[in-house]
């Protein structure tokens, strides 16, 4: 079997007495689409925050490309090629769509104080940012203020920003929620295309049909613990999952 790209080993996060994430283990392999599933409050977003460095784990380790990354500040993890989106879309509203992407692109060299005074947006950077905007289908809106975009386009902008940071892996936190039916289809195609370009994707998703159709493997969390892991087909039939996530009615009603 190939080396895992990202591996989460026995990671826990306690907030006071609350075990938000409790000894979770899983591996993510290159060019995989891994889904994280679970009811509200299962600890999915906390898990993303632990992987991307916003929180430090109470216990356990996270390895990315063979190196330990838990304990590193978020910007250093991002600079190793991990991009992420947030559950609540928060673009930098006062900036244009293009500038939003340039923020993520231009600041990669912020370790070097010399570049800090230079004007931002060299030709090469703008070209690269435009390529990413083209990939997500926002080329025409590049000069629009980000705060004026409707939700569907904001999600694309978030993915564009995550793409330019994450050459290796993307963490997508509920990118489908609130989208119209046709937008969901477009986003599914976009995510597949990103994977086919050679990136690895981990996504948190509530929409069962999307998760089952899109993901290669699924990890199911409940009350901070991993209760199942496997291919979508196996997950659909897993007793513990059906009980925790769907209630006793079973998956046939939800899908």
């Amino acid at each position: 079997m190939t080396q895992p790209l990202l591996s989460v080993n026995g990671v826990s996060k306690y907030f006071g007495g609350l075990k938000a994430v409790d000894e979770v283990d899983f591996d993510v392999f290159p060019r995989e689409i891994l889904g994280i599933l679970g009811p509200n409050g299962a600890g999915k977003t906390v898990l993303f925050n632990l992987i991307s460095g916003i929180y430090q784990p109470t216990a356990g380790e996270v390895h990315f490309c063979g190196q330990r990354i838990d304990g590193l500040p978020p910007h250093l993890i991002a600079q190793r090629g991990m991009g992420r989106t947030f559950q609540i879309v928060k673009p930098f509203g006062s900036l244009t769509v293009l500038q939003n992407v340039l923020v993520a692109r231009g600041v990669m060299r912020y370790g070097h104080l010399t570049k800090i005074w230079g004007p931002w947006g060299s030709k090469a950077e703008i070209r690269e940012a435009m390529e990413v905007l083209d990939k997500v289908g926002l080329t025409e809106l590049a000069q629009r203020k980000a705060s004026l975009l409707p939700l569907g386009n904001l999600r694309r902008l978030e993915i564009a920003r995550a793409l330019i940071v994450g050459h290796t892996v993307l963490l997508l936190d509920e990118s489908f929620s609130g989208l119209r039916h046709d937008e969901i289809g477009q986003l599914e195609r976009l995510i597949r295309r990103i994977r086919d370009d050679g990136r690895t994707i981990i996504l948190i998703e509530h929409n069962m049909r999307v998760t089952m159709g899109l993901c290669d493997r699924i990890v199911v969390l409940d009350h901070g613990r991993k209760i199942a892991e496997g291919a979508p087909k196996d997950i659909q039939q897993d007793e513990a999952v059906i009980e925790a996530y769907l209630g006793r009615k079973g998956i046939s009603h939800a899908s």
Partner: protein, 288 residues
């Protein structure tokens, strides 16, 4: 008419000084969402350090540079050792820490320099201008020019450089900018360097303008600049500058003309109460 224009010119100078003090507060609030009360103590230290260097060397240029460096270091020390460890607590905890720092620094100034009012007998290298019977003293001219330079510099940084782009990003959401690969902590430190260096300039200008440097000179600016960032809109740097200018002019004109029984320092707070009642997000604030 001549008197009016002279009052107006004085008012603009007052406003410029308020703006220089308030800028640091607005910048820090923007990236950290804390009220940096101790900023006014940094301003006091700026005046003292400037005065001492001036007394020792006789060079005003050295006084400005040395004081800016000292204040920048002081600002970063406050950020690293007071705010950073307290950021995980609710906002009133760093606020109380900030008040403690302000009082401590005032006391240190009193211990080192004594409780007296020192004079700052420097002459800024600007000409006195007489035009149409109106006099613009070299001090006024210096205040205008230096404020204009500082504002231009800050405008250039925030709108034209990568640093500025990162600062704007961090001030909108510090955890997202972290996920975008921006070193948020570095940006916060740079913000303190900028704000504190500007406070040093303000300290020296106030020292020369009033020819006074004393340990509690930061007290009135401390609460006035808090009122000003609320009036300007919390987190809005340009709002803070506009509010400062308006207050400077309004104070000077109202004291000069209207015979209001209120002390001039009350005006900032009447403005703040008014803003909170009618436009709680401030002049240029966003209603987030």
């Amino acid at each position: 008419m001549r008197l009016f224009i002279e009052q107006l010119l004085n008012g603009i100078a007052m406003g410029s000084i308020y703006a220089l003090i308030t800028l640091g507060l607005a910048l820090v609030y923007g990236v950290m969402r804390i009220l940096h009360v101790a900023h006014a103590a940094v301003f006091t230290v700026g005046a003292y350090v400037g005065l001492f260097i001036f007394q020792a060397t006789g060079s005003l240029a050295l006084a400005f540079v040395g004081s800016m460096v000292a204040c920048a270091i002081l600002g970063v020390v406050i950020e690293r050792f007071v705010y950073f460890p307290l950021m995980k607590y609710p906002p009133f905890v760093p606020l109380i820490g900030s008040i403690a720092v302000m009082l401590s620094i005032e006391e240190v100034c009193r211990l080192v320099a004594g409780p007296y009012i020192l004079t700052f007998p420097a002459k800024l290298p600007f000409p006195d201008i007489y035009a149409g019977g109106i006099q613009i003293s070299s001090t006024l001219l210096a205040v205008y020019s230096i404020t204009a330079i500082v504002l231009f510099f800050l405008w250039y940084i925030t709108t034209r450089t990568e640093l500025g782009l990162a600062m704007r990003a961090a001030s909108q959401d510090i955890s997202i900018s972290g996920a975008m690969g921006i070193n948020s902590h570095l940006i916060v430190s740079i913000t303190f360097v900028l704000g504190s260096a500007i406070a040093a300039i303000a300290g020296i200008l106030v020292g020369i303008y009033y020819n006074q440097v004393y340990p509690t000179m930061g007290a009135v600016p401390a609460y006035k600049s808090l009122a000003l960032i609320v009036v300007g809109g919390l987190g809005s740097v340009s709002g803070a500058v506009i509010a400062s200018m308006l207050l400077g002019v309004a104070e000077t004109l109202l004291i000069g003309y209207a015979n209001i029984p209120l002390p001039r320092d009350a005006l900032a707070f009447i403005a703040m109460i008014g803003v909170l009642m009618w436009r709680s997000e401030g002049l240029l604030g966003s209603s987030r």
